[in-house]
C-alpha cells in the first residue's frame, strides 16, 4: 500500500463521518466515580454531585472483553496502517472540552469520526502517519463533551531501540566548592534560608561573598542576613544545548536582583521559558540536590501552582488504569509490558488526563474546567516519581489558562493546557 492509497483510504473513512452512537454500559454513577477518585486523587471529596469532567472517556470504554464496533473509524484506519507496515502506535495528543459537567444518572452515547490523517512524517520513533479522531459524547441529544485524539502509527526505526532523550542527565549534578568564606551560604540553602554576606564592621551586603569586605576593608567575619526571598529577574538564559549534568533541558536560568541590593544566579525549574521576562517578580525556592546540598532556585512570585508529587507505584498504575476502565495489559501486567519492549508497566493516557485536570481543580476548587489539552512525552513507568507543576499563562477575567507539566526521570511525561472558568 503506497502513500496515495493510504490517503485515499483515509478520505473514504473521513467521508463516512460519525460512527453510529454507541451507548455507555452504565449511567454516570457514584461507585465508578469513587473508584476513580480513590485511584487518581485520593483525599479529595469522594462524594461529588457531578462526575470529574476528565472521566468522560471512561464512561464509554469498551470494557475488559470489549471490542471496537465495525464502523469505528480508528479501528478502520489502524487496519489500513497495519497493512501498509505502520504497525506501531503511540498516542501523542488528547484535547478534551466539556460544555458542561455530568450529573449522576445520565446515560451517555459516543460517536467518533476520523478528523485528519497526515503523513508520512519522519519522527524520532520512525516514519509514520498522524491520525486524529474526534469523539463526541451526548446525553440525549445534548453534546456534553468532545475529544480530539491523535496517535502516531509508525514503522519502528530499530527493533527495541530506546534512544535516551537528549534532555537526559549525562552525569550527576555539579556541586559548588565550599570554603570557609562561603560555607554560611550553603549551610543556609540546606535549611531553606537565603543568606547574604553582611560585613560585621560596616554592615555592607555582598554576593557572591568573600573573606573581606571591599566596602570597608575589614574581614567579613562570616556575618550574614537572611534575604526576604523576593526579587526580580534582571536577566535570564534559556539553555538548550549542550547537556548540563543534573539538568533537564531546555531550562531557564535567571540572574535575580534582590531588594537587598545584591544579585544571584539560580535556575527557574518548571517555568515556561516564554513566560519569563526581565522584571518578572520571583520568589526563592530551594532545589534540593541531595542530603548535603540545596541550590537557590526561583519561581514566579505569582501564578505558580504548588507542585504535586506522585509516587508512581505499581498499585497506582494498575488501580488508576482499571478505575478509568482501561484494561490494556501494558498498564497492569509487568511481564507482558516488558515483552512488548517497555521497562515496566506505565500510566495510561486516561489517568494522565485525569491527573492534569484534578491537579488544576485542586488548586482552583470552585472553578469549572472547560478544556484539557495534553501532549504526551516520555512514558511514566512504575517506580517513577511524577511531579506536576503548573503556571497561569493567561487570564482574560472570564477564563484562566493554566500550563501544566508532568516530569519524571526521563523528561516531560506530559505538557498540558487547562482552561478554567472562575
Amino acid at each position: 500500500m503506497n502513500d496515495e492509497q493510504i490517503r485515499a483510504a483515509a478520505a473514504r473513512i473521513t467521508a463516512a463521518g460519525d460512527s453510529q452512537p454507541r451507548a455507555a454500559r452504565d449511567p454516570v454513577n457514584l461507585p465508578m466515580i469513587r473508584n476513580w477518585i480513590e485511584a487518581i486523587d485520593p483525599g479529595s471529596d469522594p462524594d461529588p454531585d457531578t462526575a470529574p469532567p476528565s472521566m468522560i472517556q471512561a464512561w464509554t470504554m469498551p470494557g475488559l472483553h470489549g471490542a471496537r464496533t465495525g464502523d469505528d473509524p480508528l479501528g478502520q484506519v489502524n487496519q489500513v496502517m497495519d497493512e501498509a507496515g505502520f504497525t506501531s502506535v503511540v498516542a501523542t495528543n488528547c484535547d478534551q472540552s466539556y460544555p458542561r459537567y455530568l450529573k449522576l444518572g445520565e446515560h451517555l452515547t459516543v460517536r467518533t469520526r476520523l478528523l485528519d490523517v497526515t503523513g508520512p512524517k519522519r519522527t524520532a520513533l520512525g516514519d509514520g502517519w498522524f491520525v486524529t479522531t474526534r469523539s463526541s459524547w451526548f446525553s440525549g441529544n445534548e453534546l456534553v463533551a468532545t475529544m480530539d485524539f491523535r496517535i502516531l502509527k509508525f514503522k519502528p526505526r530499530e527493533p527495541a531501540s530506546h534512544t535516551p532523550p537528549a534532555t537526559g542527565n549525562p552525569a550527576g549534578p555539579m556541586r559548588p566548592l565550599v570554603t570557609p568564606d562561603t560555607a554560611f551560604f550553603w549551610a543556609g540553602t540546606a535549611v531553606g534560608e537565603l543568606r547574604i554576606q553582611r560585613c560585621a564592621s560596616c554592615g555592607a551586603l555582598r554576593h557572591p561573598p568573600g573573606p573581606m569586605c571591599p566596602a570597608c576593608g575589614q574581614p567579613a567575619d562570616g556575618g550574614y542576613v537572611v534575604a526576604a526571598g523576593t526579587g526580580e529577574v534582571f536577566s535570564y538564559v534559556v539553555h538548550h544545548h549542550p547537556p548540563v549534568p543534573g539538568k533537564k533541558l531546555p531550562m531557564v536560568v535567571a540572574l535575580v536582583q534582590l531588594p537587598e541590593g545584591v544579585r544571584m544566579v539560580g535556575e527557574m525549574p518548571g517555568v515556561r521559558p516564554d513566560l519569563v521576562r526581565i522584571g518578572l517578580p520571583v520568589r526563592v525556592a530551594f532545589a534540593r540536590v541531595d542530603d548535603d546540598l540545596a541550590l537557590p532556585a526561583w519561581r514566579p512570585a505569582e501564578g505558580m501552582l504548588p507542585d504535586r508529587v506522585i509516587d508512581v507505584t505499581p498499585t497506582f498504575v494498575i488501580s488508576s488504569a482499571l478505575a478509568t476502565r482501561d484494561f490494556q495489559d501494558v498498564h497492569h501486567d509487568r511481564e507482558l509490558a516488558v515483552k512488548r519492549g517497555s521497562k515496566d508497566i506505565f500510566i495510561n493516557i486516561l489517568t494522565t488526563t485525569g491527573l492534569v485536570q484534578r491537579y488544576v481543580s485542586a488548586w482552583a476548587p470552585d472553578a469549572v474546567v472547560r478544556a484539557v489539552s495534553i501532549r504526551l512525552g516520555v512514558p511514566c513507568h512504575a517506580g517513577e516519581t511524577l511531579t506536576l507543576s503548573g503556571q497561569v499563562t493567561g487570564d482574560d477575567g472570564d477564563e484562566q489558562v493554566v500550563a501544566v507539566t508532568g516530569r519524571c526521570s526521563l523528561g516531560d511525561h506530559v505538557t498540558a493546557t487547562v482552561r478554567i472558568a472562575r
Binding site: 555539579m174 539553555h239 531550562m251
Partner: protein, 391 residues
C-alpha cells in the same frame, strides 16, 4: 612604562598550521609546527629564541616546545590566564620583555585540538571542582546551570537587548560579515561558505538569545608570532608590524565570563580599560584605525566591543553596523579574514597574525589605507589588546 613600550618592539614573523576539525596530531606537534613556521617567516633560528609566552590554558609548556625545536636557552617565559583574554597579552608580555632587555626574540604561541580534543563549548565539570578562587567563582554559576561559555554570554546579551533594543538579527549581522570574509580566505574553515541573515535566524537555539550561528566554531590548529626589537625587526625580511600599543585590563568586580554583579550588565568595562590605554599609547583615536580584528567567540560581544573601543556610542552598535559598515568595503571593516566565526577558533591568536598581514599589506582580504590595525582578545574575561602599525 607605556610611553616607552609604544614602538619599542615589532612582530617579525607569523606562522600557523592548517585549521581543521581533527588535526590528527598532538597539540605539542601543532605548537612546534606553528613556532617553526613563524621563525621561518622571520628568517630566524630556534637558537635565536630566548623567550616564550603562551596561555595558562595552553597544554604545551614553554620548555616542552623549546625541547622540540632545540631552543638552547630561555631567559624569559610567561603564561597569561583568563582563556582567550590572554591572546594579545602574550604579545604585550613579549614586547615588555624585549623593551626591558629581558629577552631579545620572544615567541608567542597557542596550539589546541579544541574540536577533536577538549571542546570548550561543552560543560567543563572540572571547573567547578578546582580548589581555587576560580573554582569558588564557578560554584555560583555552574551548579545553577550557567555552565557553558555561550550561556554566560547569553545572560549579558539578554540584558543588552532589553536595555538598547538590539535583536537577534543585529547579532546575526556580525556572523554574516565574518562568514562573507571567510568565504574568500582559503585558510578559513568556512572558505566559500557564506551565510545569509535568514540562515542565521533559522539556526537553532544554543542558549537563548544566542543561536548556533552566534557561536564561533570549534577548531584544531596553532598560531605563533615572533616578537623582537624594532631595530632587529628592520633587519629581517618582512616589514615590521610595529607594536604601537599593547595593554591588559580587568575591571571592578571582575569575574571570568560571569561579571554579573556590577551595576550595569550591558558592557565590557575591562575592554574599555584596554581601549583607553591603547589609544593613549598609540596617540590616536578610533577614527584612525584601518581595520579592527575583534574577538568574536560570540556575536553580541562584537557589538559591545565597538562601543567600548569608541567606534560608536553605547547602545548604538546595532545602528552602526546596520548598513554593512563592518563588512569589507564598509566604513569600518572588521575581521577581514573571517574571524573565529569564519576562519578558525585559535583563541584569538589567528587575529594577531591577520593584524600583521594587514600591516604588511599581504592579507587575502587586504583592507585599503595606511592606518594601524587594532586587535582585541577574549571578551567577558580579563582581556588585552594591541595596535599594530607599519614602521
Amino acid at each position: 612604562m607605556s610611553a616607552s613600550l609604544a614602538g619599542a618592539a615589532a612582530i617579525a614573523g607569523i606562522g600557523a598550521t592548517e585549521f581543521s576539525k581533527d588535526s590528527g596530531r598532538s597539540e605539542l606537534r601543532l605548537a612546534a609546527e606553528a613556532v617553526r613556521a613563524a621563525l621561518d617567516d622571520a628568517a630566524l633560528d630556534p637558537a635565536d629564541v630566548d623567550g616564550m609566552v603562551t596561555f595558562t590554558m595552553d597544554g604545551n609548556a614553554e620548555i616542552a616546545v623549546a625541547r622540540e625545536l632545540g631552543v638552547p636557552a630561555l631567559r624569559f617565559f610567561s603564561q597569561i590566564g583568563y582563556g582567550g583574554g590572554a591572546a594579545c597579552a602574550t604579545v604585550h608580555q613579549a614586547a615588555m620583555a624585549v623593551a626591558t632587555g629581558a629577552a631579545s626574540v620572544v615567541v608567542c604561541y597557542r596550539a589546541l585540538n579544541e574540536r577533536s580534543g577538549r571542546r570548550f563549548g561543552r560543560v567543563a565539570t572540572g571547573a567547578v571542582a578546582a580548589p581555587t578562587t576560580s573554582g569558588v567563582d564557578s560554584g555560583w554559576h555552574y551548579p545553577m546551570g550557567i555552565a557553558t561559555p555561550a550561556a554566560t554570554v547569553a545572560m549579558l546579551a539578554r540584558r543588552y537587548m532589553h536595555c538598547y533594543g538590539a535583536t537577534s538579527e543585529d547579532f546575526g549581522r556580525v556572523t554574516v560579515a565574518d562568514r562573507r570574509h571567510a568565504a574568500t580566505n582559503p585558510h578559513a574553515w568556512f572558505y566559500q561558505r557564506p551565510v545569509t541573515l535568514a540562515e542565521h535566524q533559522a539556526s537553532r537555539w544554543i542558549a537563548e538569545p544566542l543561536r548556533l550561528l552566534d557561536c564561533c566554531q570549534e577548531s584544531d590548529g596553532a598560531v605563533a608570532v615572533v616578537v623582537t626589537s624594532l631595530d632587529r625587526a628592520r633587519t629581517l625580511p618582512h616589514p615590521p608590524a610595529v607594536i604601537r600599543a599593547a595593554a591588559q585590563g580587568a575591571g571592578a568586580d571582575q569575574f571570568t565570563m560571569t561579571s554579573y554583579y556590577r551595576d550595569e550588565l550591558t558592557g565590557l568595562p575591562e575592554m574599555a580599560l584596554v581601549a583607553d590605554q591603547l589609544w593613549r599609547q598609540a596617540g590616536m583615536a578610533p577614527a584612525g584605525i584601518r581595520t579592527a580584528i575583534l574577538y568574536d567567540h560570540f556575536t553580541p560581544y562584537v557589538l559591545i566591543q565597538l562601543e567600548e573601543l569608541g567606534f560608536c556610542q553605547r547602545g548604538e552598535a546595532r545602528h552602526f553596523i546596520a548598513d554593512g559598515a563592518i563588512e569589507l568595503g564598509g566604513r569600518r571593516p572588521v575581521n577581514p579574514r573571517g574571524g573565529q566565526l569564519g576562519e578558525a577558533y585559535i583563541h584569538g591568536m589567528n587575529g594577531i597574525a591577520e593584524g600583521v598581514r594587514q600591516v604588511r599589506g599581504t592579507s587575502v582580504n587586504q583592507v585599503p589605507g595606511d592606518g594601524p590595525v587594532l586587535v582585541t582578545a577574549g571578551t567577558g574575561v580579563p582581556t588585552s589588546g594591541l595596535i599594530l602599525g607599519d614602521d
